[in-house]
């Protein structure tokens, strides 16, 4: 009987920590899981359905960026290669802001994350450090944006990454919100958004962004499930400029094993979505329902 109990307890603990899970946390907004497997440590916001790794780091080589979409985010720098003030909504493991602030010593960033638990986990397990360059704000992205507009803040680099695999904050994917984001951009500023592929939300989301920003880059890389939107207030630079910027940035990103040149041919300028779809607005924003279609 005692043996049975011991075996059962052992099985239960193996089941819950079997996939190399080293930390589990239920926050106000989601389940956060940190797993460690094959030398990689990953932050996962959901373990159901497809296991979506939100952010992974290489334990032996923390500079190596494991997750492709994180690398793709830097393609926005091809449009504005010298940002001085950044805003990031949704922090994940904090990798992107850490890389950016070490590549650009003069860059300061506002990091907005709604969930204190994500900030804690990023700090504890992913080596995220608050520095003089990084300000962390635990706040809703929409509320922060509104306040920033009232303060007449301006950013030349805005990254939108508030979307987990499971749930989209619908008020952060509307024409009105993106209009506010556009107003926060300096004339030469760039906005970078990590978005989804493969549901009717792709069409709606693309139409929403192009309604606000006009022409935009849609970056997809073979073998990834993400699309990164890159847009600006000034319109899009030509490929020669993109390539020149990629060359200029090459040395700085070498230690992260990122070569921005390979993104240039994949920076698509032409809509590959159904442009007749309805843009999402504060009045009409069923993003999560559209995802299932």
């Amino acid at each position: 009987m005692k043996l049975l109990l011991v075996v059962t307890l052992l099985l239960i603990s193996m089941a819950s920590y079997g996939d190399g899970i080293i930390h589990r946390e239920k926050s106000l907004y989601r389940n956060i899981v940190v797993s460690e497997k094959a030398g990689k440590r990953c932050l996962i916001f959901s373990v159901r359905r497809e296991q979506r790794n939100q952010t992974c780091i290489d334990i032996d080589d923390p500079d190596r960026i494991v997750f492709p979409y994180v690398r793709m985010t830097f393609a926005g720098l091809l449009v504005n290669p010298e940002p001085s003030r950044g805003l990031m909504i949704g922090m994940g493991g904090g990798t992107i802001s850490s890389v950016l602030t070490s590549v650009y010593p003069d860059l300061t960033m506002d990091l907005v994350e709604v969930d204190q638990a994500v900030v804690n986990v990023a700090t504890e397990y992913f080596g995220f450090r608050k520095t003089d360059q990084i300000n962390v704000h635990v706040a809703d992205g929409r509320v922060f944006t509104r306040r920033a507009l009232l303060r007449k803040e301006q950013y030349d680099l805005i990254i939108l990454d508030a979307f987990t695999g499971e749930y989209i904050p619908e008020h952060l994917m509307t024409v009105e919100f993106l209009g506010d984001i556009k107003s926060l951009l300096t004339p030469d500023g760039v906005v970078i958004a990590n978005t989804f592929l493969g549901s009717s939300l792709y069409d709606h989301e693309s139409v929403t962004y192009s309604t606000v920003f006009g022409p935009m880059f849609s970056l997809k890389m073979p073998g990834t499930g993400n699309r990164v939107i890159v847009a600006s207030r000034m319109g899009l630079p030509d490929n020669k400029t993109l390539m020149a910027n990629a060359m200029m940035l090459k040395p700085a990103f070498e230690r992260y094993n990122i070569d921005l040149r390979k993104y240039v041919p994949n920076m698509n300028r032409d809509p590959d979505w159904n442009t007749d779809k309805r843009p999402l607005t504060d009045q009409y924003s069923p993003a999560n329902l559209l995802r299932g279609r």
């Binding site: 809703d140 929409r142 009105e176 009409y284 924003s285």
Partner: protein, 216 residues
């Protein structure tokens, strides 16, 4: 049961069902309306639910008092039209109101609470008055009152359940928020017209009084 009484009862139950439906539909849309200003965090839902609960409780209290004095269907209909009218500012001035609150309250918890109060308290309180007034219109004899109240809550809460489900599953996918709200307001006006029509046509507006007379 005389035919007039039966028609009155069905009218009251149908209208109570509609009001239950609309209360929850508006409550769910409340989350949508506040999100662009205050986010969609748990405290925003806390604000909305608090305001709806407080508004309903005062509505119950006031509706109960109002039912003491010569209750009749036509007066009952006035609750519906009043709720429709007081919902108009929510639709028309909602953004201006939330702008105003947003500028004055830094903390989104109190901001969302005040905004929810300004937007939803009055129409919800008026919709809350409908429940006790419905009981009064339905009750014929004291010893039946528990069963009558139970039946009424059954119907109106089922209406609430259906309003919740249809709004969150389908309406938000098919319509804009204001389209749904305007439709709700029109439905409330229709309820008012139905109440007036039944009041005038079937029971000459004195169903309760006549019962008392015929018994005496």
């Amino acid at each position: 049961m005389p035919i007039e009484r039966r028609i009155t009862n069905w009218t009251v139950l149908t209208l109570a069902f509609t009001s239950g439906f609309i209360i929850m539909s508006i409550e769910l849309l409340g989350g949508r309306i506040l999100a662009p200003y205050f986010g969609s965090s748990i405290y925003v839902w806390g604000s909305i639910i608090t305001v709806f609960m407080v508004a309903l409780s005062f509505g119950y209290l006031i509706g109960g008092h109002l039912s003491l004095k010569a209750p009749r269907l036509s007066k009952y209909g006035l609750f519906f039209v009043a709720a429709a009218i007081t919902a108009v500012p929510t639709i028309v001035f909602g953004d201006a109101l939330m702008d105003w609150v947003f500028l004055r309250f830094e903390d989104p918890r109190y901001g969302s609470l005040l905004a929810a109060m300004l937007l939803f308290f009055v129409p919800t309180a008026i919709l809350g008055m409908i429940a006790p007034y419905s009981v009064r219109l339905l009750v014929e004899e004291t010893h039946h009152s528990g069963r009558v109240a139970g039946g009424l809550y059954f119907i109106s809460t089922l209406g609430s359940a259906l309003g919740t489900l249809l709004t969150s599953f389908y309406f938000v996918l098919l319509f804009e928020i204001n389209e749904i709200l305007v439709t709700m307001a029109i439905a409330l006006v229709c309820c008012f017209i139905i109440a007036l029509f039944v009041d005038g046509k079937v029971v000459d507006g004195r169903v309760i009084d006549r019962k008392v007379e015929s018994k005496g």
